[in-house]
Subunit: 75 residues, 2 copies
């Protein structure tokens, strides 16, 4: 089973990459952009998708400052 | 409209972060994991989602070594 984990800064945690992108886009002529957030994505084949949350807690994310979302990807 | 951009190394391009995660997981007791890839995610509010591809080409991704996927997120 293919799992996709989306990891992003928690609400209220600084997101300097997102801020940098949000400032750079208008300078390149892209207007009408807001609320930009940059996070990570991990995709992996797993035998047991029920363990992916634990993988996030222990390795993939930093639960203090990041939230994660686990999706199962159709193939 | 909320857009989500998933950016990952192109097929055949080295993915050292993915390799590192793939090696670390069994050491933590997580078996049955394969094909791990680590990429980036950018989420943004846009007035015109048809321009997000151009944003990827010019700023968000490196089209030489990365592929990107644009999703529209329901809210």
């Amino acid at each position: 089973m293919r799992a996709r984990v989306l990891i992003r800064p928690k609400e209220g945690i600084l997101d300097p990459q997102g801020q940098a992108v949000e400032r750079a886009l208008p300078a390149l002529g892209f207007d009408g952009v807001a609320n930009v957030h940059v996070g990570r994505m991990v995709e992996l084949d797993v035998d047991d998708v029920s363990r992916v949350g634990e993988m996030c807690e222990r390795l993939l994310a930093n639960p203090l400052i990041e939230e994660y979302e686990i999706l199962v990807v159709e193939r």
